[in-house]
């Protein structure tokens, strides 16, 4: 029968169909190869950092400050670890309400030109090189009050805010209009709708976006060079003073030219990756349990 013939790959359409199959197979192959390539690159970076970093990474690395003489072995980055948590923590406290508030405003209240201008501003902020952000805070703050953890947190907050605004707004935009209307139609006020319906619905995505911003801030070095400067001598927990961070210590040790310092830099890089990974996993778990428990 003619139909059977067609189904078995015969008939007038067969050559075109075969071409399509070939193209489908080759494109699938190309995309798979790209994916494997990118995955391999990522694994390579992680494994390389881990292999290099594991040498100098020991308990002392997490509890000691760097040795007085950077060419010595031993010592650690405890002041940088504490500094990173403190400065990024402050930057998060600063940027989280600001970023989420701005995203809510953009998504729910701003219309027409106001919204367009605000989006442009966040886009421009996203595109500003962070060294420029650092220079801005340097001119505005450091010249007046000196290097400090606060100045660093401020600079990092400026880096984080547009990231959080963008991520949160995208997530809020993904909440179907139906859901919002369902709440309004029950006689729920707009503010309560935002707090109790929209934000919880978008929660998982918002948490992911905020985590990306935090991870980014954890690794930022340039703006901190110009604002908190660094402090390799002792553990400084007072954010009114110049402080160290992991990223600053990695930068300082890696560029110093001493093998032992470079080993510490590798260990610091591994620590940084581990911290970001741990924070991301914790955030995912929090997002999941809180979504299911209700």
């Amino acid at each position: 029968m003619a139909t059977t013939d067609t189904l078995h790959g015969g008939g007038p359409l067969a050559p075109a169909l075969r071409r399509r199959h070939r193209r489908d197979r080759s494109m699938t192959w190309v995309l798979t190869a790209l994916m494997v390539g990118i995955g391999a690159l990522l694994v390579w970076i992680l494994v390389y950092v881990a292999l290099k970093g594991i040498n100098a990474l020991n308990w002392g690395f997490l509890t000691d400050t760097p040795p007085g003489n950077p060419s010595d072995a031993g010592g650690g980055f405890v002041n940088g670890i504490i500094g990173s948590f403190e400065i990024v923590g402050m930057a998060t406290l600063l940027s989280l309400p600001l970023g989420i508030g701005c995203a809510i405003y953009l998504n729910q209240y701003a219309t027409g030109r106001v919204a367009a201008v605000l989006r442009l501003v966040t886009d421009v902020m996203l595109g500003i090189p962070t060294i420029v952000t650092g220079a801005f805070v340097y001119a505005l703050w450091v010249v007046e009050f000196g290097f400090s953890g606060f100045a660093g947190a401020f600079a990092l907050a400026l880096v984080m805010v547009p990231l959080i605004v963008r991520a949160t707004e995208e997530m809020l935009r993904l909440v179907p209009r139906d859901i919002r209307e369902a709440s309004l139609a029950l006689g729920v006020t707009q503010s309560r709708t935002i707090m109790s319906v929209l934000l919880p619905t978008a929660r998982a995505g918002i948490i992911t976006g905020v985590m990306l911003a935090i991870a980014r801030a954890m690794g930022e070095t340039a703006p901190l060079l110009l604002t908190t400067l660094g402090n390799d001598l002792f553990v400084e927990t007072n954010p009114g003073q110049r402080m160290s961070t992991l990223s600053l210590q990695i930068f300082g040790s890696a560029t110093g030219g001493f093998v032992n310092a470079q080993n510490r830099a590798w260990a610091g890089a591994l620590t940084l990756i581990a911290i970001v990974l741990a924070l991301t996993i914790i955030a995912r778990l929090v997002a999941r349990t809180s979504a299911v428990r209700r």
């Binding site: 209307e181 369902a182 006689g187 109790s196 919880p200």
Partner: protein, 298 residues
Amino acid sequence: MTTPERPDVIDRPSESGSATNGTAADTPAPVSESAGHGPARRMDVIDLNAGFGERTIIEGINLKVEPNAVTALIGPSGCGKSTLLRCLNAMHRTATNAFVSGEILLDGVDINARGVDPVLVRRRVGMVFQRPNPFPTMSIYDNVAAGLRLTSGTRAGRHKFDDTVERALRQADLWAEVKDRLRTMGGALSGGQQQRLCIARALAVEPEVLLMDEPCSALDPISTAKIEETIMSLRERYTIVIVTHNMQQAARVSDTTAFMTILEAGQPGALVETGPTSSIFDTPSNEVTGAYVSGRFG
């Protein structure tokens, strides 16, 4: 009829929903009880125009929505049925550029008048949407309790709304199917169950009027039949307005039918004819209505 002389009952900021009206003795139908415990309310639409920006969607609508009855809005796609429905709970106004003129009276009070809070209007005029839209982060229980929980100022206990949730789910004919899994997610239900969940959610806040925007258009015939049964049993307590594309459905569930259409291309939608459902379908007085209900439209 045009301007309510008594104070607006809906603009009271009282959270309890007990919009105690001026208890003047001459008030014909005192709006004094808490929402929902009183009789169903009537709505009157007078010379209503509505649309977005420069574009008028519906024009010159006059409609009486009788209490304890089901009013069906029928008509071809794009004739403004949904817009009219969304005007009745001030939902239309939430869109950017939206405009409304004319009057929509809820028991004589214009819901678009100055000082009338649309939020409080919506607590008395509930709505069920075309597509089932349960809150995805909430359990079945929390979905039904959402209206009460989110409109009350206080944090409520886990079991505070047990009675209300059961009543609303029974009214929506869903109780038997979900009573053993009230704490599971509402989104896990089937489409028909989700829509009945949405009806239960709307009923839980005890509105006086219930608006339904093509509530069955996304559902299979069996779910549709269940929801139609629900609608007919709700008629005793509520004023119901239902938009439907399904003329058999209008004929089955409604007491009054209003036919809307666009009389000329490019014109806004208009209400052509309103009347008892049987006469709209059997002896329509307007020939356009007759053509539509008999399937000879266009």
